[in-house]
């Protein structure tokens, strides 16, 4: 426990922005009309692939119009 308290100030900000990224991706996925590929697949990718999942969604998952 002691070591965890030491790491927390360093790791916590990263976890928080990672969480923001995930929430924004899910929020966008809900609002968007169509994605490249099935929507449910993107939900799984965003939720379960750490860091890379949401980024992948933004880069190739979104359909621009």
């Amino acid at each position: 426990m002691d070591t965890l308290a030491n790491y927390l100030p360093i790791i916590a900000p990263i976890l928080i922005i990672q969480l923001i990224l995930l929430i924004v991706a899910i929020f966008d996925l809900v609002r968007i009309e169509k994605t490249n590929g099935p929507k449910w697949l993107w939900v799984i990718i965003i939720l379960f692939i750490n860091i890379i999942g949401p980024i992948l969604y933004f880069v190739i998952g979104r359909k621009s119009n």
């Binding site: 990672q18 991706a25 860091i51 621009s64």
Partner: protein
């Protein structure tokens, strides 16, 4: 001028709508903090992963702060470049495909302001994201290793950002030349890779190549001062950006009028 500002504002608003202002900076931050964290915690990570025979002793030299920052910056020349190219490759070709470009250009908007406003919008996004990301690399390196003087941080930031701007302009050039955005992205990556490979292998003859700016940024971080060749390299980068922008306006006009 006010028309150009309107176009730029439209560009920035659009990037809000598709969350680029949020996810690109966050991605750059995550890219940037990876290096200082993983090199600092490498012994613990090795311990946790295990698999080492009993009594094995691994002595890892602790990297200096400058080395960590340089490897951290290296992330931006690989994954960072990939993200820049992937996010900007469709910026003009996508609008042409969907007909938005034609709709805007029906109004008395010059081709030049259309392209340059798009360029300025993406440059703003890229500089902002890169600054935030690199700032976090610098901060974490300072926290875990040693503090690098802020002025050196700023100098290396500008050299790197200039080179990234060249890459971005190359992408915009191909984006205005091809309707297929995948093609544009692929060609930009090829050009960037060839440019950096040629400049690094022939570094003795091509000191003025903009691709060398990344090496000069590393020199600054290593406390060697600003190399002499930085000025010609930066000037050539600026000229290159201007020429490419004018060329993309020219090609874009020709293609759009031909339709």
């Amino acid at each position: 001028m006010s028309q150009w500002m309107t176009l730029l504002q439209k560009e920035i608003l659009e990037m809000w709508r598709n969350f680029k202002w949020i996810w690109v900076p966050i991605t750059f931050i995550l890219l940037g903090v990876k290096e200082p964290l993983s090199s600092y915690y490498l012994p613990q990570i090795l311990d946790a992963v295990g698999g080492l025979p009993e009594g094995a002793v691994i002595k890892l030299p602790t990297p200096t702060a400058a080395e960590v920052l340089i490897t951290g910056l290296g992330q931006y020349t690989t994954l960072g470049v990939l993200i820049i190219v992937l996010t900007t490759m469709g910026i003009i070709s996508g609008e042409r495909k969907s007909g938005v470009a034609a709709m805007i250009l029906v109004k008395p908007v010059s081709f030049q302001s259309f392209v340059s406003a798009k360029w300025a919008g993406s440059v703003l996004l890229m500089w902002f994201s890169f600054f935030i990301g690199y700032l976090s690399t610098w901060y974490y390196t300072g926290l875990l290793f040693d503090w690098i003087p802020f002025i050196q941080f700023l100098q290396s930031f500008f050299f790197y950002a200039l080179w990234l701007t060249v890459i971005l302009t190359v992408t915009i050039f191909f984006s205005s030349s091809f309707v297929n955005s995948g093609m544009a992205g692929f060609l930009s990556l090829v050009v960037v890779i060839v440019l950096s490979l040629v400049s690094s292998t022939l570094s003795n003859w091509l000191e003025w190549s903009p691709a060398q700016l990344t090496n000069y940024a590393n020199e600054v971080l290593l406390d060697n001062g600003i190399p002499e060749d930085t000025l010609p390299a930066s000037l050539i980068a600026a000229v290159f950006i201007n020429v490419l922008l004018s060329l993309s306006v020219f090609i874009f006009r020709k293609k759009e009028l031909a339709q």
